[in-house]
């Protein structure tokens, strides 16, 4: 999927209906240095955030971020394919 600074796809590993692992399957940020530094910082955090949101029983996250939306959407798309949402 496209996000503000490039293309990102997310992999989700599930056991039954429980997510066991969330990861970045691929990322192409066009080599933009600012984008790369954001990616390095935010992606591990976003993986953790996705896991937390699932356990916190919330319907959305409010925050000042832009990679995160790309991540969340790619995540939701991956979840949709697994039919576990």
């Amino acid at each position: 999927m496209n996000y503000s600074w490039g293309v990102l796809s997310v992999s989700v590993t599930a056991t039954g209906r429980t997510i066991t692992k969330v990861g970045i399957a691929s990322i192409d940020d066009g080599g933009n240095p600012r984008s790369q530094s954001i990616d390095q910082q935010s992606i591990p955090m976003l993986e953790q955030q996705a896991m937390q949101a699932q356990s916190a029983n919330i319907q959305g996250v409010s925050g000042a971020s832009y990679t995160s939306t790309g991540f969340q959407q790619s995540l939701q798309s991956a979840l949709g394919k697994l039919n576990i949402q």
């Binding site: 953790q48 955030q49 937390q52 319907q59 925050g63 971020s65 969340q72 959407q73």
Partner: protein, 267 residues
């Protein structure tokens, strides 16, 4: 983004929950719709299509990235407000009201490069898209525009939606949960670097790590979140005086403070 609106891609999530993702305004907007179990998918599709067109239209008119958008042309002085679509004057009036309500802490006229209503538009556009989704067959809707959320209804039997607020110091974590908010906007320095401008000094400055605002309308909540991020603790007092709106800040040293009505859940 140019070209015709894409057909909505709908991922059924359970019997009556639909999720739609829409790339617009340089970011991603997600729309969650809960409908009566008997609601035909085609009905939801058509509502989503209307909402997406509304968002796309907002992007076409207000984008400061598209050089030929009416707002870009306005900023360059090529046209006057009277030559733009009527929603431009509407949003500028709302920005003016927000400037007054925020004691000048939100000021699209104080930004470099000419008037820039972007700080209001994302929330305004999401709120307008939400209105397009009002329908007797719909029991709950969430429009999440890159972390700024407008919603109506709830999770069946009027159970209100719950939203997490990101921890600005560990953006992989949810810091706290709010519930029952109809609009929730968050602004902070970790978002796009130091993009926040103090309208009183013209310098880039944020006095808090993050600021969140709840209230009935996401356009104003979005503007006020920006205002509070720049104003700091003083911003809490400003928002507290505005009927229906509440605010929470995370200070630079990590403390959380909020106005009395902020719908934070006890932890």
């Amino acid at each position: 983004m140019t070209g015709p609106a894409p057909a909505p891609t709908i991922s059924p999530k359970g019997p009556a929950h639909f999720l739609h993702r829409f790339d617009v305004m340089g970011t991603v907007v997600t729309i969650d719709v809960w409908g009566e179990p008997s609601t035909p998918t085609s009905r939801i599709s058509s509502l989503l299509e209307r909402a997406c067109l509304s968002l796309r239209d907002a992007d076409d008119v207000f984008s400061t990235w598209k050089v030929d958008s009416p707002v870009s042309r306005l900023r360059r002085g090529e046209i006057t407000v009277s030559m733009t679509p009527p929603e431009v004057a509407e949003v500028l009036d709302l920005c003016s009201a927000a400037r007054e309500l925020s004691d000048g802490w939100f000021d699209p006229w104080a930004l470099p490069g000419g008037v820039d209503p972007t700080g209001y538009v994302k929330g305004w556009a999401a709120q307008r898209a939400l209105a397009e989704l009002e329908d007797p067959s719909v029991t709950g809707v969430i429009v999440n525009a890159a972390g700024d959320i407008a919603c109506s209804g709830g999770l069946g039997r009027s159970e209100p939606f719950r939203f997490g607020i990101v921890n600005p110091f560990a953006t992989g974590e949810v810091l706290c949960v709010v519930h029952g908010a109809t609009a929730l906007a968050t602004s902070g320095i970790y978002e796009r670097g130091l993009h926040l401008v103090d309208p009183h000094t013209g310098s880039t400055a944020a006095k808090v790590a993050s600021a969140s605002v709840t209230g009935p309308d996401l356009g104003l909540a979005d503007a006020l979140a920006t205002a509070v991020a720049v104003a700091g603790e003083e911003g809490l007092t400003v928002v507290d005086a505005i009927e229906g709106y509440d605010a929470m800040i995370v200070t630079l040293d990590g403390a959380m403070r909020w106005t009395a009505g902020f719908p934070i859940e006890a932890r």
